[in-house]
């Protein structure tokens, strides 16, 4: 009894949480006299809302089901015909867009392929023999930078004097 009073006084005198926790752990939580002065389970129950007092669990499920994306059993809806039509229309539009894009891409690739052929032809340009006036000529080949155009300049070879 005396120790309980001392502990109570110490508890009231020093409002330091670690100290109070220590007093509770070492004495108050184990002492039947100190325990008797606490709120009883029945008193606590009267202040709290128990599970048996809560109503509206069905409302709760509707709310959760709506959020979870799965409808409650019985309330599950089937897709409407209007929704199906819209889905088909969207799918058809998507297919058409893919077809047009594919066609355009193929055309572009084909075009760049023909340009590549032209470049390849310029690279393959070759002169084996040029004759001017029945005699081999001096030949100069020019290709301006950045173009596929090739100029060939041929002139009569000057005759050797003497």
């Amino acid at each position: 009894m005396a120790s309980c009073r001392t502990v109570e006084r110490l508890y009231a005198a020093l409002p330091l949480r670690p100290f109070r926790d220590w007093l509770i752990r070492t004495h108050m939580d184990r002492c039947p006299r100190c325990q008797a002065g606490l709120l009883s389970r029945e008193e606590a129950k009267s202040l709290l809302v128990g599970p048996d007092q809560v109503v509206g669990a069905d409302r709760l499920w509707r709310r959760i089901a709506g959020e979870a994306g799965c409808a409650a059993s019985g309330a599950r809806s089937t897709p409407s015909p209007v929704g199906v039509t819209w889905r088909w229309a969207a799918a058809a539009a998507m297919a058409a867009a893919i077809a047009v894009t594919g066609f355009w891409l193929l055309r572009e690739v084909g075009r760049s392929g023909s340009e590549a052929k032209i470049v390849a032809a310029a690279d393959r340009f070759q002169i084996d023999y040029v004759h001017v006036g029945g005699a081999p000529a001096q030949t100069f080949v020019y290709q301006p930078q950045g173009t596929d155009t090739v100029f060939v300049w041929a002139s009569r070879t000057p005759e050797k004097e003497g």
Binding site: I24, M28, A44, L48, V54, A57, A68, A72
Partner: protein
Amino acid sequence: MEERDIIEGCLRGSPASDQAMVEAYGTLVLSVALNVLGNRQDAEDVCQETFLQVFRRLDRYDRERSFKTWLLTIAYRRSLDMLRKKRRFREFSERARFEPAVMRRGEAAERGDPEPLPSKLLETLSPRERTALCLWASEGYTAKDISEVLACSASTARVYLFNARRKIKSLLENDHGLLQNG
């Protein structure tokens, strides 16, 4: 439906099992959230978030542990999140010096709602103390069970419970004394 069957069904993604779980534990989670938060609107939000998290994370549930305790642990954490969110919002609204309409909405719901609310005396307790008191009184949880929900040691849970019981008892005695004197 048995608890194990409900869990198995939820793991398979059966809506009927989801509904069975909400029906079996909805009132429990709602009552704990209501006692911790003291507001029906917030308690329903927490309850919804709790079950959505349970459905998503059910594969992580350790079958060796009590399902109810695991569920209440999630509900407790969601309640703490809600309290933090509300505190941040209150601080912001005080700083911005305006009265938010959202805060009034909950009060209006309380007025129009016939649901019982926990005593205002519980507002003097910290969220941990409220939770400890609620689990002890309503569910008959021991300090060890409470410690699992609060994620602390059993002796710390005992301290929370002791403080809660002591504070409320003292307030009740003061009220009783005032009534007698007045």
